[in-house]
């Protein structure tokens, strides 16, 4: 595999920011490979907090591909927009493959509950179901689905999301919390 040059990625990001759709097409495979490689590593590595940090993966991919000095915000947010979509695809593909290989049932992502009230409140998130639910949400409200994708899979902060989508942080926050409620209900209903 040919090593990717930061300058090359930066150039693609710049052209894409300028409206060049073909640049985006060239960028996707590069980012996809890098994310998949990193995700594999993350999945395999031991961490004391046992959390999968998609944020960290995406950040690392960005730094590796675009270089440390590339702090131009437009480049960065465009990159993250692509990366969020790709991360979703990588993780969901992974979950699907696993469930297919195993028992044909749903794959689970263990969900860590921050304020543990009781042990049973650790729930497992069905990543495949989440993917389906997100697709359903996109039918109702595409922007909202996108916000979840950017935040959950891309690890974007509320501020970054608001700048990228050109809406106020308060709106992002509200969209985020209502979408979470909707998704939770949707997934629960599917599992029932």
């Amino acid at each position: 595999m040919r090593p990717v040059q930061p300058a090359e990625v930066t150039e693609l990001l710049r052209r894409w920011s300028g409206g060049d759709v073909a640049a985006r097409e060239s960028l996707v495979p590069l980012v996809y490979d890098e994310l998949r490689r990193l995700a594999r590593y993350y999945l395999a590595s031991q961490r004391s907090d046992h959390t999968l940090q998609s944020t960290a993966i995406v950040h690392e991919a960005y730094l590796r591909l675009a270089g440390r000095d590339n702090v131009h915000w437009e480049n960065r947010s465009h990159f993250f927009a692509v990366a969020a979509q790709l991360m979703r695809r990588i993780l969901v593909d992974h979950a699907r493959k696993r469930s297919a290989a195993k028992r044909g049932g749903a794959a689970h992502l263990t969900l860590l509950v921050a304020e543990a009230v009781e042990p049973s409140s650790q729930r497992e998130l069905d990543l495949v179901a989440l993917d389906d639910a997100l697709t359903a949400l996109a039918e109702l409200d595409e922007r909202q689905s996108r916000i979840i994708e950017l935040r959950f899979f891309g690890g974007l902060s509320i501020e970054d999301t608001s700048r990228l989508l050109e809406i106020s942080p308060a709106t992002v926050k509200r969209e985020w919390s209502t979408a979470r409620a909707w998704l939770y209900e949707e997934i629960s209903a599917r599992n029932r």
Binding site: Y41, A44, L111
Partner: protein
Amino acid sequence: MTPERWQRVKDVLGPALEMQPAQRPAYLEKACASDASLRADVDRLLIAGDEAGQAFLSVLTRESLLGDEEEPNALWIGKRIGPYEIVERIGIGGMGEVFRGLRADDQYQREVAIKLVRVGADADSVIRRFKHERQILASLDHPNIAHLLDAGTTQDGVPYVVMDLIEGEQIDDYCNSSNLSTTARLELFLQVCSAVRYAHQRLIVHRDIKPTNILVTKTGVAKLLDFGISKILHSDASGDSLNPTMTMFRMLTPAYASPEQIKGETITTAADVYSLGVVLYELLTGHHPYRSRDDTVEKIARAVCEVEPRKPSSVVRVAGTSARDHSRQLAELPLARDQQKLSRQLTGDLDNIILMALRKQPQRRYSSVEQFAGDIRRHLQSLPVIAREDTFSYRASKFITRHRGAVAAAVVVALVLLAGVIITRREAQIARAQQARAERRFNDLRRLAHSLVFEIDDSIEAVPGTITARKLITQRSLEYLDSLAQEAEGEWSLQGELAAAYTKVGDVQGQSYNANLGDTQGALASYRKALGIRQTLAVVDPEDATNRLELAKSHNKVGDMLAKMGDLSDASASFREARSIAESLVAQDPSSLDKGHELILTYTRSGYVLEDMGDNATSLARHREALAVAQTLITYHPADPLACHDLATSYNNVGHLLAKTGRVREGLEIYRKGLAICEWRSADDPESTQTNTRGWLDDFLEMGRMLTQLGNKKEAFENLHKALAIGRRLAAADPQNALASSDLSACYEAIGDSQVAFGEIIMALNSYRQAIKIREQLSAKDPENAEARAELASSYAKLGQAYIALASNARIRPANRAEKWREARASLQTSLKLWTIMRDNGTLPGSDKSQPGGIAIQIARCDSELKKFANNLSSPPKS
């Protein structure tokens, strides 16, 4: 639900989610007005939102994705890797899988942990680093370090490490489940420090110290795992690390990484000091200095670099009042522990000690783990610590703790306090001044002692022909060390470094048994400096086994130099000191390779000196003691090169002494045992080191001598010529190397001796002359070296004796005889002159005491023979 409907639901739901539950009914009443189905949808989603909690979609755990793909790798179970059979999988970690293995061969049974290393794209470089490091890591031999037993790659190219199998609990879990007091936690932590310090002295940085890497056995012994592994797996040299920062990011547990590690800057021992600080923080408070449960890796990493940690005592106090915020971690602390009391314990010294270890800039932390541990020890003994601000109340309170009785008498309180303040002020000033000095100078020392002396010298020591470069390094190093030694007086951690540096310099100057510069006097001075420092350190901390071992080594090295200079009784005294220390160390820890080796060395060197003093019987006894220790050691370390070397050497020495005391056949037998080990070793390790090669030379020489005594001419010369070939090769490779030259001269002399024994006198003359030529040069280069001088004198004597034998030979034509006697006389005269110098300056070895007298007699004989010729010449020939 339609998009339009969802918009309406959302408009009501959004604000409701942000409200307190109590406010919701009134709001919903108004917002939904009379739309009951809207209200039903919103209610349902509100419940879902509450149920989801903050955690939903906030973090993903990795188990699920990892899950079955990493299903026990059944492929490995039952397989063999080297002599180990894989029994079961016991864990999985970032670096790969860990198995329980069983070493089951004829020799012995032993359970081990085998790590199969997962390698990705940079497999080649990992394997390369692996090979490079495993020797160093295997040499780490410390009671608190899980010993690396073996490492290599499987047939499929998977790197593996075999380590001691440690059955134990993670240190933080252990502290909590055993309900340890703060003092007990500190003492346990000191064990960890001792392990890290030991490794740092060998310039190995752990780089990944964290509670999961520290296990505590049932008997309360802390064991540090995975030393140096992190470097092997994640070297910056791997080419894969386009961006060091982020490479760090994924390799580390950022919660325990130092700021410089996160930033991808140079990593030194200070990084381990930092990680130890984090571990101690957690052990004592139950909290991490930065992390809260739901922090992201990024957040923690940023906090590590930017946020000043809170005082441990204040964390405990806060936690005590609002337990809910830290529910999980706090719950792990024993309930019985009173938070207020804990907070009081931590306030002051421990706050300062921990925060000093956690400073952002490496150079502002403790300059070494030893200094860190020293402060903890001082705290435990209620002595002033380095890490704190000097205040009146602190000094006074310290003083009162130490002198409770005195202070109790009300009348003297004021006086005592006053005196105490004066004394402790001074102590504090000294402590501060020392610290400032240490901080200012420490990097200088490191750069010099480590880079110049350790790294550069080590890297070129094994390269033949580098003596000149090493001489230059040595000279510069000494100048610098002397000035540092003055400056660092009383600074314990620096002293240890200094002693190590002096020792290293001494080695380069003149260690007897390796490549050296032939500067005995200089080496003795350096070793004595190191010895002095070690003795002081032993007074400061008599329990410090590492320092005691170093102390024994220093005695041995001083003894070596004295023996070399001919001061045999002082040399004996040095070896006696070393012996008593080493014997007690080995008694405490009989499996330790380091300690055992040092004891063997001590016995061996004593044996050599006794032999020089002419006491062959006691010398033999010493070598037998060495052999006994070597035989024990080999059972613990069956494949270790050093243990094999020691065993072989011991056999050879015992064999040599037996032969020398007349039991030649028995000696040869034992000697062959030693040789068999050497052969086995060198077959095992074709890249045999210089020591091995030298060992071979000695062995061939010795065999040659014994076989000569037994009259086996053919085999004797076979062995001697093998020795000569090695000697020539070594000397040619490094003409400046005094030891190699000395070895070569010994070969010539031994050949000469055998030639004399088998009646080949004319050949012997030539051999002795070769030996003399080399020894003249050696002695001129190092006039203080009594051994070199004695060797030269002995060669001249032997040459003279060979001439006498020739002159006395009936087959020599009478006309040539006078010439032979003159040659004999000249050689003996030179020899006598050398022996006389030694006798006069007190460096004449005991075994050579009779030399001057004996040679004088031989000279007298030459004179009388020559007189006959003179008479014959002056008197007219009989007709």
